[in-house]
């Protein structure tokens, strides 16, 4: 029975019995019930609840600022307003522990007491402890009435998403020659670089019409073709082997520390390659978004390319989605001829060494980087298969490492 009904019942009974004290109690119940009704109907009116994420990106170890503001845009004061922001697994807020809501979800709980037209902004910081894509929201709102009893509930549907990219560290190459960035010599498959115009030469049957230098042809009276120097700058794709040797491909068992270290190493390589001006891409046989089994960012040299690669690493599942050989086969079909392939792997390369050899024979320079504690054994196997291989190692745990050491 509602409070108002109970109050009316008491008033009626007490009126018959002639007991003013019970009438008083009944009237009080009617009044408090009415108060609850008013706040129940109007409590959430004019409530403006917002989250503000100044930057949707962060690096592991960062603190990402997030502001939560609430505005009571009406003349009714609120004893309290509670907001439960649904938080994805892994979200850590520096200022406040997440709590378990009635629904079982992990939530960031906030409550305010709000005067009429009062606006409150709280500044929180989300700790970016692990790479990934995180979200917060939607929020469940509840308000209290004048007597601070729960009066109304509602929802604020907005969701905020941020990406925590892996750390990238300086790459210290101990090798004598600069092997990446398109500097590897290809055995064959060299292409003309249209940016490196070298002059003209007599037309030969089979030359594309597009290659004919029409002005010079007109001037000289016989057909001539444009001549270009071979391409010196090539595209580089970092192929990350996410498998850490525990269980077969597709199994979700993995060495967490090793996977994170691999991601830091891959991020560092991509960053270094971009800094050297290379056109760089990234690929991994892992889930990144949706149902796609291959994660791939095509080589590019634009300003945002590094961000795209890091975002891919942020989203990358920690376990493989398909055999690494299948990724290598896909890459051969996708990348331009003579693209350099840097394979970063922390496991025995034997299963995919035949594929690497085939790729190299097709004109794609391949460089294998054996990563992790077993690197010497890994590179020995790769070298035995005539694949250029070097050890790569972080100079500390992935959270604190300052350099990626690439050995000879």
């Amino acid at each position: 029975m509602s409070e108002v009904a109970l109050g009316i019942f008491l008033v009626v009974i007490a009126s018959f019995l002639g007991v003013p004290a019970i009438i008083l109690l009944g009237l009080v119940l009617v009044a408090t019930g009415a108060v609850q009704e008013v706040w129940g109907r109007r409590g959430l009116d004019g409530i403006e609840y917002r989250r503000h994420l100044p930057s949707p990106h962060g690096i592991v170890g960062d603190e990402i600022a997030i502001d939560i503001s609430v505005w009571n845009r009406k003349a009714l004061p609120l004893a309290w307003l509670k907001a439960d922001d649904e938080a994805a697994a892994g979200v850590v807020v520096r200022e406040r522990d997440l709590v378990r809501a009635e629904s079982g979800e992990s939530v960031l709980r906030n409550a305010w007491t709000l005067a009429p037209y009062e606006r409150v902004v709280r500044h929180f910081h989300v700790l970016a402890e692990r790479r990934g894509v995180y979200r917060i929201g939607p929020a469940q709102l509840a308000v209290g009435d004048l007597l601070a009893r729960p009066a109304a509930t509602g929802a604020s549907p907005g969701i905020d998403v941020w990406t925590v990219r892996p750390r990238s560290v300086a790459v210290r190459a101990v090798v004598s020659d600069q092997r990446w960035g398109g500097e590897l010599k290809a055995r064959r498959g060299l292409l003309d670089d249209p940016t490196r115009y070298a002059g003209i030469r007599p037309y030969q049957p089979g030359d594309p019409l597009r290659g004919i230098h029409w002005r010079a042809t007109a001037r000289l009276g016989h057909p001539v073709s444009k001549r270009f120097d071979p391409a010196r700058q090539r595209e580089v794709v970092v192929a990350l082997d996410i498998e850490t040797g525990i269980g077969p491909a597709g199994a979700d068992r993995y060495d967490d520390e090793l996977v994170e270290s691999l991601c830091v190493a891959a991020a560092s390589l991509v960053r270094q390659l971009r800094a050297e001006g290379a056109t760089v891409g990234l690929a991994a046989a892992a889930h990144s978004e949706g149902t796609r089994t291959m994660a791939y960012v095509a080589p590019g040299g634009s300003e945002g390319q590094l961000g795209r690669c890091l975002d891919l690493l942020a989203r990358l599942s920690s376990f493989p989605s398909a055999p690494f050989e299948r990724l290598l086969a896909m890459l051969v079909r996708s990348v331009s001829p003579a693209t350099s392939l840097v394979v970063l792997s922390a496991r025995d390369p034997s299963p995919y060494l035949p594929a690497l050899r085939g790729i190299e024979r097709s004109g794609y320079p391949v460089w294998h980087l054996g990563f992790g504690p077993a690197a010497p054994a890994l590179i020995a196997r790769a070298r035995a298969a005539a694949i250029a291989s070097s050890p790569a190692q972080l100079d500390g745990p992935w959270r604190t490492a300052t350099a990626l050491l690439v050995g000879p």
């Binding site: 930057s55 949707p56 990106h57 962060g58 690096i59 960062d62 990219r165 990238s168 249209p194 940016t195 115009y197 597009r210 290659g211 002005r215 007109a218 001037r219 444009k226 960053r271 800094a275 095509a298 080589p299 590019g300 040299g301 634009s302 300003e303 390319q305 590094l306 961000g307 890091l310």
Partner: protein
């Protein structure tokens, strides 16, 4: 590549012609803008802000880079603008095999003597479509033309016709097979602008317009000519920039250099560009002086492409546009400390 010859149709050119003297009769910049926007509207639906920036670039003696996703009408806008100017126009399609001599021209032997055949750069309005598909070498060939208004071919320097404006387009999301414009060249564009998606009403009008057989550009009248454009530039140079506004302008530019997200802030050339662009902007608004609002309106298109974001900050999501926004939010606008001022 046919020259678009014609004379201005809608402008009071007689008054402009007399603008060389100090006592030149006032030219209503709003009339210029109105005529130009009406002319371009015959072919382009919406995009008023972008068109105003193009007109600003023309009047401030600069060049414009139109950057937006495919299918948004970049090229159509640039072509309609060029046609409305009634100036000699040439168009180049950026491709990887486009060579510098394809732009500047070369000499042919005719009757035993070399005859210089000028390239498309010898024009008033040069429209370079998909500039980032051209090779860096070709892009560099445009540098001299953009900055010096001249081209050196086979050891000989040849001046470009006046006025000269380069309108380039590029697609920001396609990266494969493209060559990003180097910072030095980006700096030479007075403004970088986006056209943006049309609203629902405009999109309906666009669809309806293409039901007709007629080529939309055919309906664009010519509202300017070379001498008029030069006279307008001369008038724009005399738009007043007060000390207060000048100080605000330099504060905004300098603040970009101190911003924590920036590795390379806006150069002094950016200050000059912002100064001249704001004069042109004020002129088009029918004013004889620059307001702080003009600086604010132009800060994004003039400064945005000249800033180099720190890689670490970039990895954390910092963007040049956000830096400009934050600078505008931090630099006090005139009148500064108004309470003590009086």
């Amino acid at each position: 590549m046919a020259p678009d010859e014609g004379s201005s149709a809608n402008l009071p050119t007689t008054s402009v012609a007399a603008s060389g003297s100090d006592q030149a009769p006032p030219i209503d910049g709003r009339a210029v803008w109105s005529a130009l926007s009406e002319a371009v509207a015959q072919a382009v639906v919406g995009g008023e802000e972008a068109l105003r920036l193009l007109a600003t670039a023309l009047l401030a003696d600069g060049h414009a880079l139109i950057e937006d996703v495919p299918g948004i009408g970049k090229t159509l806008l640039a072509r309609a603008f060029a046609r409305a100017l009634g100036l000699h126009t040439a168009r180049i399609q950026g491709t990887p095999d486009l060579l510098p001599i394809d732009i500047s021209g070369s000499s042919l032997i005719e009757g035993g003597v070399f005859r210089f055949v000028p390239g498309p750069v010898f024009t008033n309005v040069l429209l370079v479509d998909e500039i980032n598909r051209a090779t860096p070498r070709t892009q560099s060939a445009l540098l001299e033309a953009m900055q010096e208004r001249q081209v050196s071919v086979e050891g000989e320097t040849r001046p470009l016709p006046e006025p000269f404006i380069l309108l380039a387009t590029q697609n920001p999301i396609e990266y494969e097979g493209t060559f990003s414009l180097p910072e030095a060249q980006l700096d030479r564009f007075l403004v970088r602008l986006q056209v943006g998606y049309p609203d629902a009403g405009a999109e309906r009008r666009i669809a309806r317009r293409y039901q007709a057989d007629a080529e939309p550009l055919d309906g664009v009248p010519r509202v300017l000519d070379g001498p008029t454009a030069l006279a307008l530039r001369d008038r724009v140079r005399r738009i007043r920039v007060s000390d207060e506004v000048e100080s605000y302008l330099t504060s905004v530019v300098r603040a970009t250099r101190d911003h924590p997200d920036i590795r390379l802030g806006a150069s002094p050339r950016a200050s000059v560009a912002l100064y001249r662009a704001s004069q042109a902007w004020a002129f088009l608004a029918g004013r004889a002086f620059v307001r702080p609002d003009d600086i604010k309106a132009l800060a994004r298109p003039v400064l945005g492409h000249r800033l180099l974001i720190d890689p670490d900050r970039s990895m954390r999501g910092a963007t040049a546009q956000a830096v400009v926004e934050s600078v505008l939010a931090e630099v006090p606008a005139p009148p500064v400390s108004a309470v003590q001022d009086a």
